[in-house]
């Protein structure tokens, strides 16, 4: 059974976990960042960070260096360091003139990427001489708002999904702080800002989320035209984009759990499992939410019946609760735990204010015939 935490009464915009998952940072759809700590099985607010002026749209917690980076609609980003008793913000000069939408630390945590409505991605790194964070922009050929980012495990390549209906892979090699990258299946020469690959969506819809596989050879993206697409770049010349126009509502988030398992979730309010095998086949495996509707309202008192009839013109119990665990759209999926190359627990947040933690092993036990390969 998934662990459900009803954290706030409204939508959660974004969330992230610290390294040992003892702390949870969320944005409750306003300009604050709430940091929760787990106390006796419940999440309680430990700190409230209020540096941002407008809604916090993205955040990420660097596991090793224990730093938090947040970005907001006020065109700013802050890097927060914990001083033992409080979180101290450090402003990042993003140089954008529109809201930031998403932020992600790189795997080595020496830089992070910020996507924004300014049609660019800001790659930020720390400049020691001036003791501040500076940014370099990747502008071409992004033509519209950046909605999602995902880093390749090699710390250089970045996947970008945007509302210009394209998913792209860029190089973020920053010569000031790192060595030249080795060549990968995405290309040999990787100067900063080079677009290594560009993919479009099957029917023309905003790319809501992009995700690299654990090896970095495959890229998956989901878009608003109810499609999910995967490309396996390790096949180089034979690399072909496999898209499936599915029959469900669009997905807002996707995440590779292993090299061939993808979990996706969106407006349908439940996560689903897709499988991509070596024969370039992308198949829908199963819905991952098997919770049952509460069998309530079995017998209504006579007074209630007439009350219902009076106010709602019906005697049936007006049940507005969904069958799924989440009561509203799921907006983000994060890997909660697992080894390198295979995640076995993931967390989801949604517009209903719930944080739900799903364990693959217990899902395999609960759903007949389900296997995370």
């Amino acid at each position: 059974m998934p662990e459900v935490y009803e954290v706030v009464n409204g939508p959660i915009t974004c969330h992230c976990w610290n390294k040992d998952r003892s702390k949870l940072a969320i944005c409750p759809n306003n300009n604050e960042v709430h940091i929760y700590a787990k106390k006796s099985g419940k999440w309680e607010v430990e700190h409230i960070l209020t540096e941002h002026g407008q809604r916090v749209t993205g955040m990420d917690w660097a596991a090793e260096s224990d730093r938090l980076v947040t970005c907001a609609a006020d065109r700013n980003a802050y890097v927060w360091t914990y001083t033992g008793s409080a979180w101290k913000p450090s402003l990042v000069i993003l140089r954008i003139n529109r809201a930031a939408t998403v932020v992600k630390w790189s795997p080595k945590e020496n830089k992070f990427a910020v996507g924004s409505g300014a049609r660019c991605v800001s790659i930020c790194y720390f400049e020691k001489e001036n003791d501040w964070w500076v940014s370099k922009h990747i502008k071409k050929p992004i033509r519209s708002t950046v909605l999602s980012l995902d880093w390749h495990p090699n710390n250089y390549l970045l996947a970008v999904g945007s509302t210009d209906f394209k998913a792209r892979v860029f190089s973020t090699y920053t010569k000031e702080i790192e060595e030249k990258p080795d060549s990968t299946c995405w290309g040999k020469k990787m100067p900063f800002g080079q677009c290594m690959a560009e993919f479009t969506t099957a029917g023309g819809g905003w790319v809501h989320c992009v995700s690299f596989s654990p090896s970095g050879n495959k890229l998956c993206w989901v878009s608003h035209d109810s499609s999910i697409s995967v490309v396996d770049q390790s096949k180089e010349q034979d690399a072909v984009v496999v898209s499936v126009k599915h029959t469900y509502l669009p997905y807002l988030a996707c995440q590779f759990l292993t090299e061939s398992s993808i979990v996706a979730a969106g407006y349908d309010c439940y996560p689903v499992l897709w499988n991509y095998d070596d024969n370039n086949k992308l198949t829908f495996i199963n819905k991952l939410d098997q919770s049952e509707k509460k069998a309530g309202g079995a017998s209504m008192s006579a007074m209630n019946k007439f009350k219902q009839l009076d106010t709602k013109a019906t005697t049936a119990s007006a049940d507005t609760e969904l069958e799924s665990t989440h009561q509203n759209s799921i907006t983000q999926i994060l890997v909660y735990s697992g080894s390198q190359g295979s995640a076995d627990v993931f967390s989801t947040i949604g517009v209903d204010g719930r944080v739900v933690i799903w364990a693959c092993k217990s899902l395999e036990a609960a759903i007949a015939g389900l296997k995370f390969s």
Binding site: S226, K245, T247, Y248, L249, P250
Partner: protein
């Protein structure tokens, strides 16, 4: 064949759908190559008239070979998406004869295409 070059010929070819005995084949031909980027409104209208003609020729019952269900099952995902676009286009101009048939078509297409096919009608930037 590109629509801009051969509009009249395309429509004539599609009009031949009236002569094809198999309704499912006629449907596939009518849905082929929708004039998505054509600037000529006349062409788009006439193409739509041909498609509507074919659609109203199907029967509502579930089992026979001329039924909408058989028609829908024979289509590929892309053809189904095209069909949904035509159905919604039909909804915008309801007529005496088309309403019932279009609603039944919608039910049949939705059973196969699901919510995704309707989403694709709305998010597609090329209308039929």
């Amino acid at each position: 064949m590109s629509w801009t070059m051969n509009s009249t010929a395309m429509i004539q070819r599609k009009s031949q759908t009236q002569m094809i005995p198999s309704k499912v084949e006629a449907l596939k031909l009518a849905l082929k190559d929708p004039p998505v980027q054509n600037k000529d409104k006349n062409v788009v209208e006439r193409n739509y008239a041909v498609v509507l003609d074919v659609l109203t020729g199907f029967s509502i019952g579930k089992k026979d070979k001329d039924s909408m269900q058989a028609g829908v099952e024979a289509l590929s995902t892309d053809e189904l998406d095209s069909l949904m676009k035509y159905i919604y286009r039909g909804f915008t101009r309801p007529t005496e004869n088309s309403c019932e048939k279009l609603l039944n078509w919608h039910e049949a297409a939705f059973a196969v295409g699901g919510l995704g096919s309707i989403i694709r009608v709305m998010s597609a930037r090329k209308s039929v």
